[in-house]
């Protein structure tokens, strides 16, 4: 077996026992990228020489007996929205031009402290706005299970790269489902931690009250390892929470007896694909067989989540993206005065979805409409958060499909933004409520064979519980061992 096909915990153990070299693991990833990425387009760029040099350093550390770092020598790739000092950062947008990060995000420093080889810039929807990675200014990423289909988004490059064994694991960001949805559609594990669990320092802001960095991995144990590595309070992010970081992996013991899992009746929606519904129901049955109790719950304000989200997220985006004005970094289109320079630069630099959202966000914040749209949406957010806190008084986790359907075709929804937004129905509330969620593979559709994801939502800082449940399910079902077609 090639080393790139392993999980991070498997390769870390192999490296610690000196049965393989980090350089070979990195080389196997690079070879796989060479083989498949022309068709997949998961990577925007990567620096092979730098990646191999980092791997060489890891081998030296291993040779000198320093095997105590949990990710020593493990190649991990990064969504193009997280800063790595000295590497390009574009957010898959033309407006950033040839931007090179002057500093590294806290999560990157933490991954390096844990020994990881950090490499590559993974494709995404421009500024993380989208559900298909079709909004990248540099071309769409394809789904490794079916190249005519989208990988999901916005962390579509991250999900496709992990599913296609181009890296051992990846970081993504999740504002309304952007880790969990592509993980579900590509057949990997996607974890969105609780808001405040992971520092956002060095993450380009889309909607600051909703954004969170998380992982895309090949199994749940890897998700636990990466979460432990990147979590913790950071003085450079005042919204990171001073909550101790548990050893998430040590809780993965398969013992879920007595844990209560809620099923929300509001999530039995029309438009839910029958094969997705059947796979998720079977997964819930399996969790019950493993000892969990299934409880019906209600999240009464679910039907308002998408509308509230698209007001709050676009309002915050319109403010955050004001910084891309052609003055201090990125591309510039000259103008006779500053306003003309800003407008022309932004008109030329942003793609259509970013422009739509900036206009919507500007409108809902504008004089005369603020109360009717933005303030009202924030109040609805309170109701949605209350729904979850009320439900979590009775259950330990909530099970839902991650997405209403499996991966759709490239171009199928790109002309209809509202339909694209509505496909986020199961993932959006989690960000509004500030809770955590994980998507874990729970089967496949037939003809074509496409992955389906089970989503487990947890209490604020309840990652240990949802990871324990996801792991118990994964180990009994073994869907995570299936690989995309070799013809890829």
């Amino acid at each position: 077996m090639m080393l790139n096909q392993l999980t991070t915990w498997q390769i870390a153990a192999k490296l610690a026992r000196r049965e393989a070299s980090a350089r070979q693991a990195m080389q196997d990833c690079l070879d796989q990228i060479q083989r498949v990425d022309g068709r997949l387009h998961a990577f925007l760029s990567y620096d092979a020489a730098d990646a191999l040099a980092q791997a060489g350093q890891a081998d030296q550390a291993l040779a000198s007996g320093a095997a105590d770092k949990p990710l020593l020598g493990v190649p991990i790739a990064i969504k193009d929205v997280i800063a790595v000092r000295g590497q390009p950062l574009s957010c898959a947008s033309k407006i950033l031009g040839n931007f090179v990060s002057p500093y590294s995000a806290t999560v990157i420093e933490k991954l390096r402290e844990a020994g990881a080889v950090v490499f590559g810039r993974l494709n995404m929807d421009e500024f993380a706005m989208g559900s298909s990675t079709e909004n990248s200014a540099f071309g769409a990423t394809r789904n490794p299970w079916d190249l005519s289909r989208i990988p999901g988004g916005s962390s579509g490059g991250s999900a496709a790269a992990v599913a296609a064994d181009e890296c051992l694991a990846a970081l993504g960001s999740d504002t309304g489902g952007s880790i969990r949805q592509p993980a579900a559609l590509c057949g990997c594990v996607g974890l969105k931690p609780t808001y405040g669990r992971v520092s956002r320092y060095g993450l380009v802001a889309f909607a600051s009250s909703l954004d969170q960095i998380g992982s895309l991995t090949k199994d749940v144990r890897d998700a636990a390892l990466l979460l432990a590595a990147i979590s913790g309070q950071d003085p450079r992010d005042s919204t990171s929470v001073p909550q101790p970081v548990p050893d998430y992996a040590s809780g993965l013991n398969g013992d879920i007896k007595g844990l209560k899992i809620g099923l929300a009746r509001e999530y039995m929606i029309g438009g839910l694909d029958p094969q997705v519904s059947a796979a998720v129901q079977a997964a819930v049955k399996q969790l019950e067989k493993l000892g969990a109790h299934i409880v019906e719950i209600s999240l009464p304000h679910t039907q308002y989540a998408v509308a509230a989200y698209y007001i709050i997220a676009t309002a915050e985006a319109s403010a955050n993206l004001a910084r891309f004005d052609g003055i201090r970094y990125g591309a510039r289109v000259e103008g006779a005065d500053p306003i003309e320079l800003y407008s022309k630069t932004r008109g030329a630099g942003f793609g259509p979805e970013v422009k739509r959202r900036v206009i919507l966000g500007t409108y809902v914040l504008s004089s005369g409409y603020y109360d009717a749209y933005y303030l009202r949406a924030q109040k609805v957010r309170t109701l949605i958060r209350r729904d979850f806190l009320e439900a979590f008084a009775h259950v330990d986790a909530i099970a839902t499909p991650t997405t209403p359907t499996a991966a759709f075709r490239v171009g199928e929804k790109s002309g209809d933004p509202l339909q694209m937004y509505l496909s986020d129905i199961f993932t959006i509330s989690c960000n509004l409520a500030g809770i955590c969620g994980v998507s874990v593979p729970c089967g496949f559709t037939e003809n074509p064979k496409l992955p389906i994801g089970l989503q487990l939502l947890g209490k604020p800082f309840g990652e240990e519980t949802i990871l324990k449940l996801a792991h118990a399910y994964e180990q009994s079902a073994n869907w995570h061992k299936e690989k995309p077609p070799p013809s890829l």
Binding site: A307, S343, Q378, T382
Partner: protein, 94 residues
Amino acid sequence: MSPDFDIKYVAHLARLSLTPAEEEQFAAQLAGILEYIEKLKQLDVSGIEPTAHAVPLVNVARADRVRPSLSNEEALRNAPAKANGLFIVPKIVE
């Protein structure tokens, strides 16, 4: 949708130049999205406090101390136009 949604005006507020084709396309698409968003008006939100963020933290402060930061050269490295350690911008005052 609000009858006075004026895409030209909102695009100006957003400092975003749009082509006539974009104005037409976005106005139609945003009309559909705004109509969908109207459903929030069905809810009675009187007496509900707004949620700006979901973190149980208030007034996070740090010590007011000088710390290392980017050098002038590093801060200007990505600038589209620079000279003498400064960003170059169009003339603002006559």
